[in-house]
């Protein structure tokens, strides 16, 4: 079963913040986050492992709440380059990832 991402889409002005959530009904061991720009391949952002570790990539950070089986991606002081579709991928074990439906982010000047 795919994890559920929310919101499905968000529009921001440059400099604003946003949060993208990824929820699963299964016990998770890891959560991956990727960003895909239109017409391009998804690009890896970060991995969070079981243990509630928080990570960061530029001004993008994420957290993993294993009790709630939920991860959140934080876009801080958004830039135009943050526009794209963000996907979470979850794993219960091993290399197999199950991806969410994606969250489309548009950052306007």
């Amino acid at each position: 079963q795919q994890p559920v991402q929310s919101p499905q889409a968000v529009i921001l002005r440059e400099g604003e913040d946003a949060v993208i959530n990824c929820s699963s009904s299964k016990a998770l061991y890891s959560v991956h986050w990727y960003r895909q720009k239109h017409g391009e391949a998804p690009v890896f952002l970060m991995i969070l492992l079981k243990g509630g570790e928080q990570k960061g990539h530029e001004k993008i950070s994420a957290s993993f709440n294993e009790k709630k089986q939920q991860s959140s991606l934080y876009l801080t002081a958004s830039q135009l380059s943050y526009s794209g579709t963000y996907f979470c991928g979850t794993s219960t074990a091993g290399n197999k990832l199950t991806f969410g439906g994606g969250t489309r982010v548009l950052v306007k000047p």
């Binding site: 391009e40 996907f87 290399n95 991806f99």
Partner: protein
């Protein structure tokens, strides 16, 4: 940098044809994956392989098969293409458990 190369960016085939999509990676990764991407559904795993000649079904394997004869190459086969297989197909590879997946640019396949 890891390079994952898919043989075609765009492909148009007829219903009933046998279709081959090729993927090559240059980083000696053991694990390779095939996904299809449809609007609103994200990336769905079709098949993956963790070693040469090894394969495992993903979430939507029906109508597809795969081949991995060499470590660097992973092929997706549509045995008898149907219109509902029109989609974007993405290949990915990774070095191991809990490592980033590196994606190719995708093949947009249209079945007429």
């Amino acid at each position: 940098d890891v390079k994952v190369t898919q043989s075609s960016r765009y492909l148009v085939k007829r219903t009933g044809e046998k279709v081959f999509l090729e993927c090559v990676q240059d980083m000696d990764h053991e694990n390779m994956f095939w996904y299809r991407q449809d609007p609103g559904l994200g990336l769905r795993l079709i098949y993956f392989s963790y070693d040469v000649k090894m394969k495992e079904k993903g979430d939507i394997p029906e109508g597809y098969s795969v081949s991995r004869e060499k470590k660097e190459r992973f092929s997706l086969i549509l045995e008898s293409a149907s219109t509902n297989q029109t989609s974007m197909y993405l290949c990915a590879s990774t070095s191991g458990t809990y490592q980033p997946q590196h994606f190719g640019d995708g093949t947009r396949l249209s079945i007429l």
